[in-house]
Subunit: 416 residues, 2 copies
Amino acid sequence: MEKAVLITIGDEILSGNTIDTNSNFIASELKNIGIKVSQIFTISDEIETIKKTLGEAFELGDLVITTGGLGPTRDDKTKKALAEFFNDEIALDEVTFNHLKEYMERRGRTDILERNREQAFVPTRSTVFQNQYGTAPCMMMEMDGKLCYSLPGVPYEVKPLIKDQIIPYLQEKYSLQYIHTRIVSVVGIPESVLADTIEEWELALPDNIALSYLPVGTRVKLRLTASGDHEAFLQQQVEREIQTLLPLLGDHVIAVSEDKIENILAEILTERKLTISTAESCTGGELAKMLTAVPGSSKYYLGGLVPYATEKKIKILNVSKETVEQFTVVSEQVASEMAKGCQKLFETHISLSTTGVAGPGKGEDGKEIGTVYYTIRINDKEVTSKLYMPHLERLDFMYFVSQKVIQDLVGLLVAQ
Amino acid sequence: MEKAVLITIGDEILSGNTIDTNSNFIASELKNIGIKVSQIFTISDEIETIKKTLGEAFELGDLVITTGGLGPTRDDKTKKALAEFFNDEIALDEVTFNHLKEYMERRGRTDILERNREQAFVPTRSTVFQNQYGTAPCMMMEMDGKLCYSLPGVPYEVKPLIKDQIIPYLQEKYSLQYIHTRIVSVVGIPESVLADTIEEWELALPDNIALSYLPVGTRVKLRLTASGDHEAFLQQQVEREIQTLLPLLGDHVIAVSEDKIENILAEILTERKLTISTAESCTGGELAKMLTAVPGSSKYYLGGLVPYATEKKIKILNVSKETVEQFTVVSEQVASEMAKGCQKLFETHISLSTTGVAGPGKGEDGKEIGTVYYTIRINDKEVTSKLYMPHLERLDFMYFVSQKVIQDLVGLLVAQ
């Protein structure tokens, strides 16, 4: 049990309607128990395609996990394909039917419709893992030492099935090789220069350690993945390599353990007992969301404001009307006054502000789409910067700017 | 030119580190010009795997688009695989090199490193589409009437390449069948009941119209996709089917054109000239972000507050200290007072508030993880609801609650 293959079934993914987040979650959970996903197939909801893909998947790995195609509606054909592929038949499973009935009754739907009853039909040789948060059951088929799980497609049904049932089952059934991953985050050095700088070190890495470069905004994440039989040995081995790497990179390293920049910031703020607040215009809440997405963030994040209308910046944050008139609302001066007002309103050590034009329409004052000013205020010192990114779409713009602001803040705090 | 196959190359996707958003974007852009994505392969960055997958892809479609695997670092092998697959060789392309030089000089990096120079090497028979926002060029190979594009993996480089260069090129080169899509959004009716209700209508649909059910939260989106030679005919045909469908669904229909709930809300608010504001605790800015993600939202969204710390709810929103002490901060009463304070602060017709425990840690007052109260206030009327979703992870919780609040608001506005 080393390699897994994922199959995402659903026309809504192929049509560009829905982003496939299940594969990401499953891959990351499997990685933790040492199972590597070698390929992902995203296919349409057709019996022949599903059967063909199951065949190809089992040539690439011992474990296949499919998501999607198990709902109660007409366009779901996975179960039929599964039964045909494994030369099995579909029959009503009493336990599953009772589970389904209870599930629906708890939700006040006592009318078990024929279509829902069909969901309790499963291949006769399958083992069912009951779905606690939906009506489609999860089925496991086993053949010649190979394993196939078939899950529904709804992300919040997939997550508990994987985490609470499938992962523990796999861990118990197989004795798996251990995987250890560490990420070193580097800023202020272009990827190509970085690659040259650490080339010798990279070439000398042991065979069981793989290195990847993952650029995220202006940061490059170096991911070391080690695999082997002994957990403690791998940890020491990777630690040793990182200790050799660090002197080569000097001040460019901003973190050696946490991965996401908001988690890195959380580490720093918690350690230094600093509080933070946000005042966002063009990022529209993304910055607040990114900070509050970290568990425990209520310890340092006291609050934020999204004063979208200019008059609200003036009224709530005390931005001066004259400043707006003289410099326009998308300006260095307004960003700075917003940060000051925000720091005062929320009484925090640090405050962050953004003001800009996310597009696609031009700003009130005709400022160019993609222009943004942001201020980082730490106690009584502040830095205001400008970004110009006309090529980003609205949501990407909000995300990129928020990432950049947090990144810069981490940079400033680390340099202190 | 009818079917396309996408190949996503990159270990960062397979390892669960990065979510593949490129495929979603490309699929949706291709759909607009009538090209359907029949399959997506997500594979690792290995020459043999890439070559094998290119072969499989060309069996499934005439157009193959790969993303990823074109950076300047050691783990990128796509270009080699491409040249080998097409029996070509790689050589320096002067035009691409000059473009690269100018690109780097504009960014103040006059030191063209050997590694970056390598990026100007392309298969000799390829047509290069220059990348305006990165250093890896986009290459097009043509063979026996089949087309292969190879793009870098960074989303904000992919988007302009697809939108500004590849789509117009394909549109000009081929005369493509027209596609027309409409989405009917339905609430308050379970998917299985819905399927029964419209079964006869569904079975009578013409062969060139396909129907999909896409559940999103408590809403079900019915997507009709029609294909044919004449745009005007398709529009009329789909419109006719929708007019037959609507009487079957009555009040359950909330929208027949826009897709995302925040866009549906935007339609309603703009039409009725209503303004809105938000006060979020447990959703931490997600609600604000969702509303401001809609272009033109500044016309109706006046602002939002994320009063994360309890004392900020009291100070800025005027929530009474006694209410908090008596009912705890995660309560119907506090949600209601937050909405009132928010409406007053931002002077809007509508205000939304959320207070809850996103987990994984318990709330200050020991309230259960997954509990949330939210208030929707429209002028002087308000509704407060409770949700309990202990199974959702923190980010999913923030997203799901925000979707639900907007959905409910749309429901209330439509019912008025």
